[in-house]
Amino acid sequence: MFAYKFLAAGAIAPFTGRAWPQPGPRGPGAWIVAPQGDLARYGVHACRLDDLSYWHDEELWLVELGEPILSARFQLAAGRGRLLQRIIAWNAASAREYAAACAWRARDLVAEALDRAGLAAEASALRACLDLVSLQASATAIAGDAARDEPRGLVAYAAGAAMRARQGRFPEASLQSAHLGAALTAGEAGAEHERAWQARWLAHRLQLREIAARSGVGASAV
């Protein structure tokens, strides 16, 4: 099975600190074999496309997983895995684009919520913003001291996402947008809906399906 994996710079596993063998001219990197024990816990972890927005890091790789493979919430866990190809489209520039996309997505969601609450002027003010600086300022002013469960207070999530996007902090920008989704629906389903939107954005922007197809793994990529 083929999947995706975020790693720290240099193909370093972010939690174990292990350096993954990288692909070279002669083919994929060497297999990493999971230690014995609970596969969910100690297996080689990787993402389906839908999981990507939960596991950000500096590098994104196309990986091959070997049996046994456990499909769990948020991730896959396999008995072994190896790196096939780095997704070079995921880099500092596309990460900033991603953060901005999350902020604008949050803007659109809160503008709709403001419209539904009869706050059309505030919604229009947000929609008139053309850059992240003005979005952050406008959203901060609208949110004011309102509690985050009030329609005006929800705008604080858009302000937060814009601020993080301006700082290039894509994990927090996407998290703000997911929090907004949860707040709008009073539940985790809203957050998961936003994470799914983010994962689709990543798959489309990074052309992950096309890359998998070019690599000859399209049919079995998750």
Binding site: F6, R41, Y54, H56, F74, P171, E172, E188, A191
Partner: protein
């Protein structure tokens, strides 16, 4: 960052769990929630990296590595702290 999502760890909870995480004492689901939070929070990622570095560095120390003046100062601080 505080959590609006019920099942999500907060930064404060992560700090409370970090020792158990290092010692591999979290349940599998809790371990995953811990790591999910780290992937969404730059501050906690930095904190975790610093804690790892601290554990590595402290693990190499022996008592004689600590200068006497520093050791005595630390002991005075700890003893005073315990009385208040």
């Amino acid at each position: 960052m505080s959590a609006a999502i019920a099942s999500e760890l907060t930064c404060k909870e992560l700090v409370e769990l970090v020792t158990d995480y290092f010692e591999d004492r979290l349940a599998t689901d809790e371990n995953r929630r811990f790591e999910l939070h780290v992937c969404s929070c730059t501050g906690c990622r930095v904190n975790l990296a610093q804690m790892r570095a601290l554990v590595r560095a402290a693990g190499r120390l022996v008592e004689n590595d600590v200068p006497v003046a520093v050791r005595d100062g630390l002991l005075r601080t700890f003893r005073a702290w315990k009385r208040t």
